[in-house]
Symmetry: C2
Subunit: 426 residues, 2 copies
């Protein structure tokens, strides 16, 4: 069931997958029947390749795509694909996953493997379960108008993932090697990339510390794994504008902390605050920081505010990368797009709640929206702050900036225009 | 292999365990041999009890000890006990563990089970692996001079654990029920409680969110499990006094955060700072907060400072429970003991690095020490702060307070004196 990845073209893997699925459809007996095995024998034979020579000298530093092996699902393991209209975020996973172990005592990174999607077996003392030694990334693959699959700026995710690893006592790696492994995983499960421009394939690389010992220490063993899932919209409902609760009693991140890294520890403690927002009839949390109630993030997204300054100029502002916010890839892309367009002044600046109130009262507040990989761009319709509701006219404009941004990113991601940010996987 | 726990006396379980172990010693063939099965049949027969009636009405609120079932190890699963001189913290685990699942869709808490120690199998999207939906507790069982096993103030751990659960979107439970289940686990593995007054049995209850879906949300499924391990001293080496690095560039906790809860997310992000301390030749981190460089915690311990005030009075000070520090059970016990002794003035007050420097320069700084369940009391010998080394004369006194505290707690924990804080498990 294992084949060297370099020589084993993905097209063939997919052909086999489809053959397997067809066989299942025809089959009335269980997949383990003799007849079934016989039908498959040709395909299985095709997948026997010798592994390439393994270069052990650099395993401490990184794993290598050339060492990747692939074990495909048995026919009965293939899952039914959900309807594209029923894609709740993060609820359906594909048939395969990528796993790469790290053991410092075994020379570092081990060979990457693509295997059927399966549970992860952990020692009960594994550091990830006690001390949140864990980090993740989120990126997406899109099926373009030309049927080619594109991944959006994966190099930026890899850079951020390595920074998160450094801050967690977890091993770093060569991001280009992981991108190649991820691309192969997406190829193997390419029929899971929705044939729809309202959906995409969410890619979740995760790195966890798995040493089976108690004690808050550097990890000597780790597991990097990647799971992928077809997703629709992150938020439910037709009107995708959201209401926020801004309560200065809660802080997401602070100076000298890790709020600018994509660590699990930045998310768990937010659930209670999110629950509080829901209880108060709001949909998301607007995270404030400091005595001036600076706007930092919203839910798990970066924040943008569009307003007219005192000279009548249209400004798109977002909080600076001061260590308090995640350096979002959608955030960076929006900034770059708007700077190219030149029809709006782009500023990375501190934005306080007083600023928002001042602009709103003066009729100069235009739009507020969040940005992130999961939902791309999410408009905001109101903020509850210190007992008052501030209405935000984001969706009331004729040609709002948030829509222009969303449509431009969409055009890049789905291949309507050719752009270096969207990289085809083959 | 399952027996109702209420009627099945633990003495009998232990007798069976010992019988199994003896059998292994005698046995030359594998445990699955027919002869072996035959030898065991009497013992296994003894363990067949009918479960008591399960009261489903309150499963949403809590699990119940009366529903606990126990599946003992097969003889070949029993582990070799390490030598008491070789007890590295958190490296050796006993033969059994306690597991209690929670599934809101199945009515809430499920029946507690004691089973052979085993890996935990998790969906790769489990919330604990991505969003640090996890919390833990640490408490200890001690084998007393009368050979009775005592657990130290478990009710306080249960209270704190439920507060942590509330802050993490994880289900709460009746702490008394968990204490009874834990006591049974300790009874089953009672031969693992070291026969030594330099060692103890560390108990690690853990609660994790296990829903197999991405998205930062309240957990609908959770797993509470308890693993136990014999431990010696938390720190290696003979002189147990430690050197600290106090670097105001790093912050452990923040107002509006969760620094006063025992969540995994408070620990992972500290590893990089601990590594930095080690690189600078220091053993632990002294955590500071705010512009005045307030002392909050050290490593994973609470902090105490003993000094003479301007009136010549001896004062034991510790930072107040302001939300920035963990409400430690050893901390609370030390405060209560010292208040009873009346030979030192006890203060919960803000302590800045300037205070420490001022007292040290005036010759009024007496001792600094950390407190926690793992190491009980750890004296501090020096602090590196803003490029200077501050020497702390903690271990230079004839009758230091830290030793009096340590010995008093020891006397309670090992049953030298009768005290309500140390509760026998039978």
């Amino acid at each position: 069931m294992f084949g060297s990845t370099k020589q084993c073209s993905c097209k063939m893997l997919i052909q086999i997958q489809h053959k397997l699925k067809q066989l299942i459809a025809k089959q009335t007996t269980r997949a383990c029947s003799l007849k079934f095995k016989h039908d498959l024998s040709d395909s299985l034979e095709e997948r026997k390749y010798e592994n390439e020579q393994y270069d052990e000298t650099d395993s401490e530093i990184t794993f290598r795509f050339k060492d990747l092996t692939t074990k495909l699902c048995e026919p009965e393991q293939l899952r039914t694909k959900p309807d594209v209209t029923d894609l709740k975020f993060g609820h359906y996973f594909t048939d395969h996953m990528l796993k790469i172990f790290y053991h410092s005592k075994l020379g570092g990174w081990q060979r990457p493997v693509i295997i059927p999607f399966e549970n992860i077996s952990l020692h009960p003392a594994a550091k990830v379960l006690h001390y949140a030694v864990e980090l993740f990334e989120g990126l997406k693959a899109y099926r373009g108008v030309d049927d080619k699959i594109r991944v959006f700026r994966p190099d930026l995710n890899m850079g951020r993932m390595n920074k998160s690893a450094l801050s967690s006592g977890l091993p770093t790696f060569d991001g280009h090697e992981l991108i190649k492994c991820i691309n192969r995983l997406v190829e193997v499960d390419q029929e899971w990339v929705p044939h729809s421009e309202s959906s995409s394939l969410y890619i979740r690389p995760t790195l966890i510390g798995i040493d089976g010992t108690l004690g808050v220490q550097q990890s000597e063993s780790a597991l990097l794994y990647v799971i992928i899932c077809p997703v629709g919209s992150y938020f439910n409902g037709n009107d995708d504008s959201v209401s926020l609760l801004a309560d200065p009693a809660y802080t997401r991140a602070w100076p000298g902390g890790c709020g600018d890294k994509k660590l699990g520890s930045n998310y768990g403690p937010t659930i209670r605050v999110h629950n509080r927002a829901i209880q108060k009839g709001r949909q998301q949390v607007l995270w404030l920081y400091g005595p001036n109630h600076e706007i930092t993030e919203m839910g798990t997204m970066n924040m943008f505010v569009a307003y007219r300054n005192e000279f009548g100029e249209k400004v798109l502002a977002t909080p600076p990368l001061s260590g308090l916010i995640l350096p979002g890839i959608t955030r960076q892309s929006i900034l770059q797009l708007c700077e190219q367009w030149k029809d709006v002044r782009v500023e990375q600046r501190t934005i306080t709640m007083d600023d928002v109130i001042k602009w709103q009262k003066a009729g100069r507040l235009l739009e507020m929206f969040g940005s992130g990989t999961a939902c791309i761009v999410t408009p905001i319709n109101s903020i509850e702050y210190l007992g008052e509701i501030i209405n935000i006219p984001t969706i009331e404009h004729k040609e709002p900036l948030y829509l222009k941004v969303r449509e431009s990113l969409h055009a890049i991601q789905y291949g309507h225009i050719k752009h270096p940010w969207a990289q085809t996987i083959d």
